[in-house]
């Protein structure tokens, strides 16, 4: 692996995704930027409705074009996906970039066999024959750890168990050796053992092919396991970015802090109460003024002049590390340490 | 849900004993109850007299219809196929009419160009010779009468025709001859090898010996039920599907329920037939058309429909106003008052007081009932038992039908008071149908206004006639109707008003057993002179009405429409149907 591998493979620049609905414009993604290099994993964290899934569907071009207004740039290997035609995107999807969806049962067609569904992606992009595609499907199933793949290849999704379906889904996403893999909460519905197996599988595959992975989750534990970099989204925006260690160890944004506090720590004592973030995710139709997190933030009054409710904090990045918050770095170091202390005590 | 005409008839009257079904040529659809007073009153009422013709009247060929041309095809649009084509099973006049071009009887009705009818010999040389005051009848068969296969009509065929009427499977045709023949009560039909002795054959002459004097026996024999059957070709029950032709046409194709096609019978000799003209080359009867559909096609008058007429389907009630108010369309309508009279017999064993029965007559809401039926276009109010088109009809109006068609409650009440029967209870039986219910209510209102107490009882349609035909039926008043089987008073008064016909399943529904009426009927039956007989029957009508055992309600008016290229559409008064053998296809 040379330094060229460290070059940016996917670059999202100031992405805005707005849907027009009967009630008004929903700003699902509102100015998001990030980069991803090959062989690296970016974990995107956020509650549902934070814009993480929309971002990724937009990368693949799976959004409803008639009702979506998109602004910004998505460069995949230097090519702007937003200005590509549907035909061009079709050639990329499933081939150079592919996606693993959350609910494998709903996301796999109930009407076609697993083998067909895996094979048709392969045929579409390689022009392989049916026979070759079938062989490839069996190979992929074997690789993702499905026992007796040559028999199971003709099964329908409903004949598979949940974990196997997810594996099949992964096999399908990887059948053309994609350079970018987007995994949208691929393990949410699965039990912990299976979850771990699948995470290992993804890691192995990444090592083997040098795939760039975007891993979407709301589970920081999973992030800790797989990601290199972390991007925290809130209300359609990035509120904090950094390496996995930076974000998890020394969070800079009250929301990240809140997420961390709401999950049990493996290191601390077991009897420490969890502190879920009070309030509910913001409405994207009519987002709060100023910092979108301010109605739920416990530090609002610490910022002078009520700035939190009037002015949007900017994402302040230095070397890919930073957050969007009105608190000064000193204030954060002080307040957050207290919280961390309370958790560790 | 549209009811069939057949069912409508059953609903309106006269079914069990079959009457209207049997003789009426269709039936008016009966309207929807809305007032159709804007429809002009039409009436084809014309008192008929159907005399017995002479030998020369019976000699063919039939007089030419002025302007008629040979050739072409005449079509029909009708709702139902015929249930029967075997004459032994034919009672319904539509079946009689449709078989007229293919079948022939000993006697028949010759229709002149003005619509007048005469009884003549059909295959017989004349209308028969009567002896013993009507107990013996002889008919001589013409020469050169041939079946469709070219074989000559034999005397065996003629004998066989009448003997097979006694077979056990013959259940639907008329039963007059069977009842009157000497030895007929014990005879079981010819299929067991026995013949009926009261039929005598001598050369070309057949003689019938009867148990009673029947001066009108030759009229009876003109019923289509007595048309001739080939002995050789008799397939018994199966004959119904395809009878063997003796008339100018034969069946070339039959799709039961769909169509029936006649083509010329080359062996028919017009010189032997004074009744049939046979202008068209072909008849194609088409079945399965509701009256609305057929009426619409007549109105449109396109293509083959121009050569089409209906035997059964009348102008649909929904289209009556449109057709009868449009002079152009009305020109293509054959309007005819039917021989049927719809009436309400009063059970004279329950309501014995003549004044009470007269009071019911005075109070009767004729007009309201007509409105419920659909107005003047389809019925004429009745004040007599005989229809205006039945020979013998005399016009009289004992109970003020014409002056006060809506009823005269004051007069009725006065009569009731006189009889000391104010508050008299009247139990009315009526059938389940929309119109019947409405009519029952109108009658109840009218009678109660006159001081009666009325109880309405609904009776199931299918058993209605069985119920009212019982001696102890428990009803005072019920709808019925009758149309004569051959055109004279006997065929009305004997079955329905003679004391001899009281009994379960018999048709004297009023159970009138008046000695003077009985006597008058018996006497009139034996009068050989048609004119005198007719006078006697007219007097009997009045005599019965004075006893008021019945409320005559209405005579139905039939309106048949036809295409613009059908020539000489006239009514056959003898068979109470359109005269198929007089039609021609215009060039």
């Amino acid at each position: 692996m040379t330094s060229t591998d460290q070059q940016t493979f996917l670059s999202v620049r100031d992405l805005k995704v707005h849907f027009s609905t009967e009630d008004g414009v929903v700003k699902a993604v509102d100015g998001l930027s990030f980069d991803l290099a090959k062989g690296k994993t970016l974990g995107i964290v956020g509650e549902s409705g934070s814009g993480k899934s929309v971002t990724n569907l937009t990368i693949l071009g799976l959004h409803d074009r008639d009702r979506t207004a998109i602004d910004g740039e998505i460069l995949l290997d230097g090519k702007d996906l937003l200005t590509s035609t549907e035909r061009e995107l079709e050639r990329l999807r499933g081939n150079k970039m592919s996606m693993i969806f959350q609910d494998a049962l709903a996301s796999l067609s109930p009407y076609h066999t697993i083998g067909t569904q895996i094979g048709e992606t392969y045929r579409k992009h390689t022009g392989a024959s049916k026979k070759e595609a079938r062989a490839r499907a069996i190979e992929m199933l074997r690789r993702v750890g499905i026992p007796q793949p040559d028999m199971r290849v003709d099964d329908y999704p409903h004949q598979f168990s949940g974990g196997m379906r997810q594996r099949a889904m992964i096999a399908m996403a990887l059948v053309c050796d994609p350079e970018l893999l987007i995994a949208d909460e691929p393990t949410t519905a699965l039990d912990v053992t299976v979850q771990a197996q699948i995470m290992d599988l993804l890691k192995d595959l990444q090592q083997e092919f040098g795939t760039a992975i975007i891993f979407i989750t709301h589970d920081l534990g999973v992030i800790a396991d797989i990601a290199d970099d972390v991007l925290v989204m809130y209300g359609g925006r990035c509120v904090e970015r950094g390496t996995k260690e930076e974000v998890l160890r020394t969070p800079q944004h009250p929301y990240t802090l809140g997420l961390l506090s709401s999950m049990p720590s493996l290191e601390g004592p077991v009897d420490v109460p969890l502190n879920p973030i009070p309030g509910s995710p913001p409405s994207l139709l009519n987002p709060p003024s100023g910092c979108r997190f301010h109605p739920r933030c416990t530090f609002t009054e610490k910022v002078a002049g009520g700035l939190c409710s009037t002015e949007q904090p900017l994402l302040d990045l230095i070397d890919g590390r930073g957050s969007a918050c009105h608190l000064s770095l000193e204030q954060r170091a002080e307040f957050f340490a207290d919280v961390a202390a309370s958790r560790h005590n | 849900m549209s009811f069939s005409r057949r069912n409508f008839l059953i609903a309106t009257g006269v079914a069990a004993a079959g009457t209207t079904v049997l003789s009426a040529c269709g039936g008016s659809g009966g309207g929807g109850g809305s007032s159709k007073d804007n429809v002009p009153s039409v009436s084809g009422a014309k008192t008929m007299n159907i005399p017995v013709g002479s030998k020369s009247d019976s000699t063919g060929p039939a007089p030419e219809v002025p302007g008629a041309v040979k050739g072409g095809t005449i079509y029909s649009l009708d709702q139902f196929d015929m249930d029967h084509l075997d004459p032994a099973q034919i009672y319904v006049s539509t079946e009689g009419a449709i078989t007229r071009p293919i079948l022939r009887g000993l006697t028949g009705y010759k229709i002149d160009n003005k619509g007048g009818a005469t009884l003549v010999g059909d295959v017989a040389t004349d209308a028969g010779t009567m002896k013993d005051g009507g107990k013996t009848w002889s008919f001589t068969i013409k020469d050169g009468i041939k079946w469709e296969d070219g074989s000559e009509l034999s005397m065996d065929d003629v004998r066989h025709t009448f003997e097979r009427l006694f077979a056990s499977w013959v259940t639907e045709g008329p039963r007059y001859v069977q009842q009157w023949m000497v030895g007929g009560d014990k005879y079981k039909g010819p299929y067991e090898g026995k013949s009926l002795d009261s039929i005598e054959i001598d050369g070309k002459t057949i003689t019938f010996r009867l148990t009673e004097a029947r001066a009108d026996f030759n009229y009876t024999l003109a019923m289509p039920g007595y048309n001739l059957v080939s002995k050789k070709k008799d397939t018994k029950q199966k004959y119904d599907k395809r009878p063997f032709a003796l008339g100018p046409y034969k069946i070339s194709d039959r799709q039961i329920g769909k169509s029936l096609t006649y083509v010329r019978n080359e062996h028919w000799d017009p010189k032997t037939d004074s009744i049939r003209n046979a202008y068209p080359d072909k008849f194609v009867f088409q079945f399965g058309f509701e009256s609305v559909a057929s009426t619409d096609r007549y109105i449109a008058d396109r293509g083959n429909d121009q050569y089409t007429m209906s035997i059964f389907n009348e102008v649909a009630p929904e289209r009556t106003a449109q057709v009868l108010t449009n002079a152009k369309l009305k020109k293509r309508v054959l309007t005819q008052v039917d021989t049927v009279t719809y009436y309400w017999p009063i059970n004279t064993t329950r309501i014995k007081d003549v004044k009470v029965r007269q009071a019911i007559n005075w109070a009767w809401p004729h007009q309201q009932l007509q409105t419920i039926r659909g107005g003047k276009a389809t019925s004429e109010l009745a004040s007599t038992i005989l229809s205006p088109v039945t020979p013998g009809y005399q016009h009289f109006d004992l109970y003020g039908v014409e002056k006060k068609p809506g009823g005269d409650p004051a007069k009725a009440k006065a009569l009731l008071k006189e009889a000391g029967k104010v508050g008299q209870k009247v139990v009315i039986a009526y059938q389940q149908s929309d119109n019947a219910v409405k009519q029952a209510v109108a009658i109840k209102n009218a009678l109660e206004a006159a001081g009666f107490k009325v109880v309405n009882k609904q009776v199931d349609k299918s058993t209605f006639y069985t119920q009212i035909g019982k001696i102890d039926n428990g009803y005072d008043l019920f709808a019925a109707g009758w149309s004569p089987d051959w055109p004279n008073g006997y065929s009305v008064f004997y079955p329905c008003w003679s004391g001899k016909n009281i009994g379960d399943g018999r048709s004297n529904y009023a159970q009138l057993n008046d000695p003077s009426v009985n006597k008058a009927i018996d006497q009139a039956s034996t009068i050989a002179d048609t004119d005198q007989a007719n006078k006697a029957w007219g007097a009997i009508d009045r005599q019965i009405m004075e006893l008021a055992p019945v409320v005559p309600d209405y005579h139905s008016i039939r309106n048949w429409m036809y295409g613009s290229k059908v020539g000489n559409v006239i009514y056959d008064a003898g068979n109470t149907c359109v005269a198929l053998c007089k039609l021609y296809a215009k060039k």
Partner: protein, 326 residues
């Protein structure tokens, strides 16, 4: 699949047996005496008894039913009228024909009406529905939706007469509906039935437009459709192989029910267009109290409906492996 079919066919036979028994009992137990209807003037009790005997209705109902049932397998003798070969569904005395022959004679028309119009309304309905679903929310969708609302509220006895009046009587564009067997002359078969097909289709198309649209709108938003797109499949491929495949199941099911309705509704359709199919046969049998015929029509129609349902189930199973394999 074979086991699935065998199970369904056996179930169907049981249903038919029950239907025939109930129908038989209903028809013969109601206080309606077909004998009185064919008994002439001066109908005597003796005469009635003769007619009852000739009609074969002088036996107890269970005996009559047993004879009828037996006739289906071994045929039956009707003295004087001849032998009715197995499968004998009875003999219509009013029609003077074995019941089955008459029904089979009328059946092609009824089936031509039903299937002919089905072909037309399926093509138009599904086509329009697909367009509306694809153009969801656009003017094409709105026009299709409102037009189908209007059309589906129409009734055959209104549109039928109106169409005949306008197209046949006034404008002379089409001929009066008529029936020529398909095997005899395909062109006159189609041209004779064109008007009923169009009228029926006008009414039925709307249902299928709405159903197709709503089904497709639903399946188009299914996750597996999105997955198919994420795999890079072309939108045409995604639409037909995934979205439409998912929408088809419910449409096939409804079509099975509608086919039964179409055949059941033949009574009205055939009356309106003056066509002589099984519907009219049933109607005239009611009017004439032709019980054997009515029984035959009822049992055979029930059989047809049950048969179509099996076909529909089989087709559904072919479409959806979840049903086939469960």
């Amino acid at each position: 699949m074979p086991r699935f079919l065998v199970r369904r066919v056996l179930g169907a036979l049981v249903i038919l047996l029950i239907i025939s028994a109930v129908t038989f009992w209903l028809f013969y137990a109601v206080p309606r005496d077909p004998a009185t209807m064919s008994c002439g003037k001066n109908c005597t009790p003796d005469m009635l008894a003769k007619i009852r005997h000739n009609l074969g209705i002088d036996h107890p109902i269970p005996v009559q039913y047993w004879d009828w049932l037996k006739g289906i397998f071994v045929g039956r003798d009707y003295s004087g009228f001849g032998h009715c070969n197995a499968p004998c569904l009875g003999y219509s005395f009013a029609n003077n024909q074995p019941v089955l022959g008459t029904i089979l004679d009328r059946l092609p028309l009824t089936l031509s009406l039903a299937f002919g119009s089905a072909v037309v309304f399926l093509i138009f309905g599904i086509g329009t529905g697909m367009m509306a679903a694809v153009k969801q929310g656009k003017w094409q969708d709105k026009v299709a939706s409102s037009a189908s609302l209007v059309a589906s509220s129409m009734q055959i006895y209104f549109v039928g007469y109106l169409a005949m009046y306008l197209l046949v009587a006034k404008l002379n564009i089409l001929d009066n509906p008529s029936y020529t067997p398909l095997t005899e002359n395909p062109v006159s078969w189609a041209s004779g039935l064109l008007l009923p097909w169009l009228v029926l289709s006008l009414i039925w198309t709307a249902n299928y437009t709405r159903m197709t649209r709503s089904q497709l709108v639903e399946t188009l938003s299914e996750d597996y459709v999105r997955t198919a797109r994420a795999k890079g499949l072309s939108s045409r491929n995604v639409f037909f192989r995934f979205a439409w495949r998912g929408a088809m199941g419910p449409i096939v099911t409804i079509f099975g029910i509608d086919l039964a309705t179409l055949i059941g509704g033949a009574i009205i359709t055939e009356s309106v267009f003056s066509l002589q199919g099984v519907g009219r046969l049933a109607l005239s049998s009611v009017n004439r109290s032709d019980l054997p015929m009515l029984l035959g029509v009822t049992v055979l129609s029930a059989g047809a409906i049950v048969f179509f349902n099996i076909i529909v189930d089989a087709v559904y199973a072919l479409i959806d492996p979840r049903i086939r394999l469960s």
